[in-house]
Amino acid sequence: MKKLIAYLFLALTATACVNDDKYDWDNDFADRSDTDTLHIAIAYNGATATVTGDASNFVSIDGANVTVRSNTNRFLLLTLSGTTQNGSLLIHSWKKLGVLLNGVNITNPIGPAINNQCSKAFYVLTATGTDNTLTDGTAYADNPFTAYGDTIDQKATLFSEGQIYFGGSGMLTVNGNAKNGIASDDYVVFESGTVSVNVAATGTNGVKVNDGFTITGGILNIDVKADGARGIKNDSFTTFNGGTTTITTSGDCKIETVDGISDTTSCAGIRCDSLFSMKAGTLTITSNGDGGKGINCSQNIEVSGGSMTVNTTDTKAVVGKPKAVKSDTGIILSGGYFYASCKKSWACDNGSDSEKASERVTIIGTPTSKSLAKRLVEVSFL
């Protein structure tokens, strides 16, 4: 009897060996975004949009306004196509993701065309041979809120809370009519493809980033028209390691009065608050407005390679001084080609008050040619 009971006891308990956890590290939490991709296609068609491949129901559609809420730990790649004049894409995701622009044209009259609320890496890829356009309206609706009461920022036609990597081999045109063309609360990296950013006089900056700008390849064209606008406005480092970048500004100085205190903001091709470094690639800046600058940097501007050409064309200098290349701490040339030209004020300003153009730049090494004048500085190591 005792043995029978013991065996029965053991047999019954031995069956209870199933793990009842609902989550599994590898399937639910481990970062699989480098090895596994979840493909979802979104096709815009006028006032509607359709989605395919969304087995997990991440996508919701209201007219042509598409919202993605993803908690996959795979790499989420959204392939976008079609045209809408009243649509958008809003993304919430836990892990990094990308959009493949496969001939898409999105206009959102009241907000960003693409708004990525994920703070992880966001890849914006253009499919080979495609033209893609993103456009916002001249006035945004108030910032919406999540279901949990958090504000959804809307800082640009193409906005991401996280870093943006531009790649692919197609073309992307970003039109900004109310705010920035492209903005990231992190950093941006341009790797390949052709990206054109056009910001109207009703907008602000071309590319606005908090934590860094890098270009390693591709073609980047920026045209901003608003007063006080910057082609690239960057609170951190700026690095040119390749690619071809052309920036044009045409706005004048912007004068704002707050509490009786006037503040003047001049246009600039590039405004950065940290180190500016150019090692490769081609950079051409033309600043046409009153007081418009080419590069305006709080720290060193270092050119060791590539080709940089900066022109400011303002001849009046009514409010601001149209310096071509301005640094608060130093302009250091050690390689590549450097050309800075202005019609008024100084071509180069390195923070010193010297009246000698030769003391406004620091040349390291022996250039093959150099011309140092007040309104034209040309140094070549090529």
Binding site: M1, F9, L12, T13, D20, D21, Y23, F29, S70, G149
Partner: protein, 222 residues
């Protein structure tokens, strides 16, 4: 399913000692929930009133816990199920009376359960580290009212009870039980029980939920 094995020894007219082992399952008996061994000593103060004290060692298969951040999308903390020990002490006072073949008893039991700290069990997604589930002690007052009936010329004796679990915040759960004892040759007692357990609010230690439970037990009397 709950499975129990017990043994009881009467030392004198006043003293009684017992030991028991128990295995509980969850997830429709597919997952082990806990196992325990315990000892108990009982003293009869006078007819109709007993006092007892006991200790139980428990090994719990703590249920998985998971929660999201305020956006409802990103994970916040995750604690996969894990086995960890607990120590439980109890003292009880039981009053009973019999009227013809009907018996009634009321047991008041205070129990204290200590859960030692369990290291590296909880994953914090913000800091990307495994953290400890902190140790904790918990007091509980259990009040059980039971009715039993001795059916003449039949070896099956039905019983029913209701038990209330109270802590400082109020009633944590209620347990309703009906069952039947089967005595075999005076030394062997088998029992089959059905329990319905109703949980009030979140039980942060056991993750108990409303459930229906079947129990099988065997007790040997020396």
């Amino acid at each position: 399913m709950w499975y129990e094995l017990g043994a009881e020894k009467k030392l004198s007219s006043k003293w009684n000692v017992s030991a028991e082992a128990e295995v509980r399952t969850r997830n429709n008996a597919r997952t082990a929930d806990r196992w325990s061994v315990g000892i108990n000593a009982e003293y009869k103060i006078f007819k109709g009133l007993k006092a007892s004290a006991g200790y139980t060692f428990l090994d719990y298969n703590n249920q998985e816990e998971f929660d999201l951040k305020s956006d409802g999308l990103r994970p916040n903390k995750w604690t996969p199920s894990y086995w960890a020990e607990r120590h439980r002490f109890n003292v009880s006072l039981t009053g009973s009376a019999t009227w013809n073949r009907l018996s009634i008893s009321l047991r008041e039991r205070w129990q204290y359960t200590y859960r030692p700290q369990a290291d590296n069990k909880k994953y914090d997604f913000d800091n990307e580290t495994w953290k400890a589930v902190k140790g904790k002690g918990k007091n509980m007052l259990r009040s059980r009212l039971q009715l039993g009936y001795d059916i003449p010329h039949w070896k099956f004796d039905p019983f029913a009870n209701i038990e209330m679990f109270n802590d400082k915040s109020g009633i944590k759960k209620m347990r309703y039980q009906v069952g039947v004892d089967y005595k075999y040759r005076k030394k062997h007692t088998f029992a089959l029980t059905y329990r319905f357990q109703k949980v009030n609010g979140d039980d942060d230690d056991d993750n108990d939920v409303n459930s229906q439970l079947i129990g099988l037990s065997y007790k040997y009397k020396f």
